[in-house]
């Protein structure tokens, strides 16, 4: 299945793009998608302990299963205000 990944802030700056697409087998998780993204964009990534993920605008655990057509956002530490 195809998963669109959005990168923001420092991650986007390092990758040089805010949009990646990864091809994953059915049943793949958020963690699988992140691994694939790191393979496609071999940059200095943010430690997973401070990285958050959202699917279709809701925060999810890295163990969540993805579905074809999901938009996965990789969210570095937020700092609004």
């Amino acid at each position: 299945m195809k998963i669109a990944i959005k990168l923001f802030a420092g991650l986007r700056d390092r990758a040089g793009t805010g949009d990646l697409t990864v091809e994953l087998p059915g049943g793949a998780t958020v963690a699988d998608a992140i691994n694939a993204a790191q393979h496609n964009a071999p940059i200095e990534w943010i430690a997973p302990t401070i990285l958050m993920a959202a699917v279709n605008n809701e925060y999810v655990d890295f163990t969540s299963a993805l579905a074809d057509g999901d938009e996965l956002a990789l969210i570095p530490p937020v700092s609004g205000g």
């Binding site: 802030a9 943010i46 956002a73 937020v78 700092s79 609004g80 205000g81």
Partner: protein, 142 residues
């Protein structure tokens, strides 16, 4: 009222949006770009938001404080793009019959916004730039 915009923010618009004849208190918070942070001289900030998730999360936080405190209405505006020193990046207005819940709810909303709303701040300081909370993103501009 939830507003994410690259235009200057006007606190009066938000305060007026929340006030009603049954309210005795209107608390307005402005987050402003300081000229210093962490011992560095700040030149300006740049904000980025992930929309529409940021709007959704702000709405959830408004629902959260309305559930927890006896308040009437809430308005939030966040600026994106470049925000210079002394300019306002965030405005929150909360109205209530009584003052204490308005104060407490407004502070809580700012605290939570900084935890969960997908908005990021890049600090351009004297000699470099960094995405706040992401030290690995720091670049020096010699």
């Amino acid at each position: 009222m939830i507003l994410i915009t690259d235009q200057p923010l006007d606190p009066k618009t938000l305060a007026d949006a929340v006030r009603a004849d049954s309210d005795g208190a209107v608390v307005t918070f402005e987050g402003v770009t300081r000229n210093h942070n962490d011992g560095r001289r700040v030149e300006y900030l740049e904000y980025e938001a992930y929309r529409p998730m940021a709007d959704d999360k702000l709405q959830e936080l408004i629902d959260e404080i309305k559930e927890r405190w006896e308040i009437d209405a809430v308005a939030v505006a966040h600026r994106v793009g470049r925000v210079d020193i002394g300019e306002t990046s965030l405005v929150i207005a909360v109205s209530a019959a009584h003052r204490r819940p308005a104060f407490e709810a407004a502070l809580h909303l700012v605290d939570r916004l900084k935890e969960v709303v997908p908005i990021w701040k890049k600090e351009f300081f004297e000699g470099g730039e960094v995405w706040i909370g992401d030290p690995g993103s720091e670049r020096t501009t010699a």
